[in-house]
Symmetry: C2
Subunit: 333 residues, 2 copies
């Protein structure tokens, strides 16, 4: 990747859509999504059509704003993430996934980071009874299957993009699990490398970039501190303040591809976590009613499809990984 | 189907999702979508991820309201249909499809028709250079492949639903094209059957129901009059006032499954049609700019996935064909 920052902007829709770069990228993206889908369908997952509006949505999202809509006089939200619906879906099937569009009004200053879109898509997976490690294994299998398929079938597209398929050799030759590093250890690494930041927060973009650049293969950061995530990431019962969650970080500076976690499913703990994170339980009426009746324990994750495409295709900016880029603050189709 | 009208309502999310009926329906839906997808991917279509917000959306939709959102101070819409984006996508690939969520705030009086949802999904297809008849052939192939796959793989689910697979024998034994009836002839049929309505409009629900009940296999109504559809349905150059479009109507009273058309692609004619249909061209800036630069001729269609599921699964109400039903005017997850 040429640079961490990519201030270029898409041309007009015809310029963008007629470009051999865009066409190669979208063909690669189609293969990535199909590889992920086929792997999960073979394992007995059921694909459900995603909800995109509802009375409430995931409150997470580093500083992004939710979009309000008027649903017959009631204030609804556009989904920023369908996590609450994924937990509900496990009442029907033990293993589910969605390909889900999401809208997050990211701060204007993210317009040129190369990794933020106001509209994007997640490959959204949830598995009843699964642990943090179980979910990480599925996430690894999906990324590996997607990369393998692109390398196998999209040689000429990778060539058009100038993406060397050898970049994926360390990933494809891996026989065991992807490397795992705890959030605490990642922080210590960053201090050693001269990058200091708040220990109770997400790792900041710059820190994530440093760790990503150091690696030649995707790796997990696990066990984030409680202050950094929403109420639905489960706290470790043996290690209070530590969440049983994970991010998958791409190598070469591409940064975060996937966020996932064991989910909180106990009514009282969810209420407590909501209060800790400043969420008003009254807003979550249907969800809390359902949780009180009982939902399964689970783990799940969301893959940023445009971000995974960006890494696989070797793009400087994530907007190149979508047919109709919505850059924060920029009016476009 | 027991009744044209189905005033029943979904229970709580746990009641709905734990029901063997819902689970059977969603498994069938998963097979329908996969059958359609596999058929198109084999034919060289590229699947794109759908946009769900934009400065403008399809103005069609019998009396349904669009949803406004605030996109960084700009008034955007939720997609009621992605037709304009499908035309744009043909600048990248000759044959494309989306699985696209749509939101339409249907009038409150549609809450109990059994066939309206405020949030639904379309299997959205567009083909460069294709005629009305070409698109109808693809639509027929998709419906046939979906039904065949469900009958082949979902025997026990159909049994749980009390849906007799023999209902599909006339469809599956068909060797040629589905029957086609012109809008004019359909109107005359309805007059003979004692059902009179405005000739320049869509066929009303009751009329569509009468024709649907008469048939044992899906059939097309073609060549709707100009007043009945949006500016993007192409007018027949040889027969002014007649559109080169079609609906696919399910048998047994299930009604419309698919709407499609040859598309208008000429700048001057689009402007004229916008003015005729009361649309302000200034709203469509990006689209008209693109059209002026040149877009391919095309035909395409949208399959209502919940409606097709309703027909295949033999459901009285379309809300049974979705995990999180949004009934017009009803607050629910």
């Amino acid at each position: 990747m040429s640079s961490q920052f990519a201030p270029s902007r898409p041309g007009t829709p015809p310029e963008h859509l007629k470009s051999p770069v865009t066409q190669s990228v979208l063909r690669i993206q189609n293969q990535i999504v199909q590889a992920a889908r086929e792997l999960l369908l073979e394992q007995g997952f059921v694909e459900l059509l995603p909800p995109i509006i509802g009375p409430v949505t995931d409150p997470g999202g580093r500083g992004a704003k939710q979009v309000d809509i008027d649903f017959y006089g009631n204030r609804y939200k556009l989904m920023t993430s369908a996590i609450l619906y994924k937990q509900a879906s496990l009442l029907a099937f033990d293993k589910i996934f969605y390909v889900a569009p999401n809208v997050r009004l990211e701060p204007l200053e993210t317009a040129d980071t190369g990794r933020h879109l106001a509209e994007f898509h997640q490959f959204d997976v949830e598995i009843a009874g699964a642990s943090q490690q179980d979910a990480m294994r599925v996430a690894q299998d999906i990324v590996t299957a997607a990369v393998a398929r692109v390398v196998r079938t999209m040689g000429s597209e990778l060539e058009i993009l100038g993406r060397d398929p050898d970049a994926f050799a360390p990933l494809l030759n891996k026989t065991g699990a992807f490397e795992q590093i705890s959030h605490t250890d990642a922080m210590e690494d960053l201090v050693r490398l001269g990058h200091e930041q708040n220990h109770d927060a997400e790792i900041d973009w710059e820190g994530e970039g440093i760790l990503s650049h150091k690696s030649d293969s995707p790796f997990f950061i696990i066990d984030y501190p409680k202050g950094s995530r929403g109420f639905y990431d489960r706290e470790d019962p043996e290690r209070p303040e530590v969440l049983r969650n994970f991010d998958l970080i791409a190598p070469e500076g591409y940064g975060e591809l996937i966020s996932g976690s064991e989910r909180e499913y106990d009514y009282a703990r969810i209420i407590a976590r909501m209060r800790e994170t400043g969420e008003n339980p009254a807003k979550y009426e249907w969800y809390l009613k359902m949780v009180r009746d009982g939902i399964p324990s689970s783990s799940g994750f969301g893959i940023g499809i445009e971000r995974l495409t960006r890494y696989v295709a070797g793009l400087d900016s994530v907007w190149k990984a979508t047919a109709f880029p919505k850059i924060p603050g920029v009016v476009s189709p």
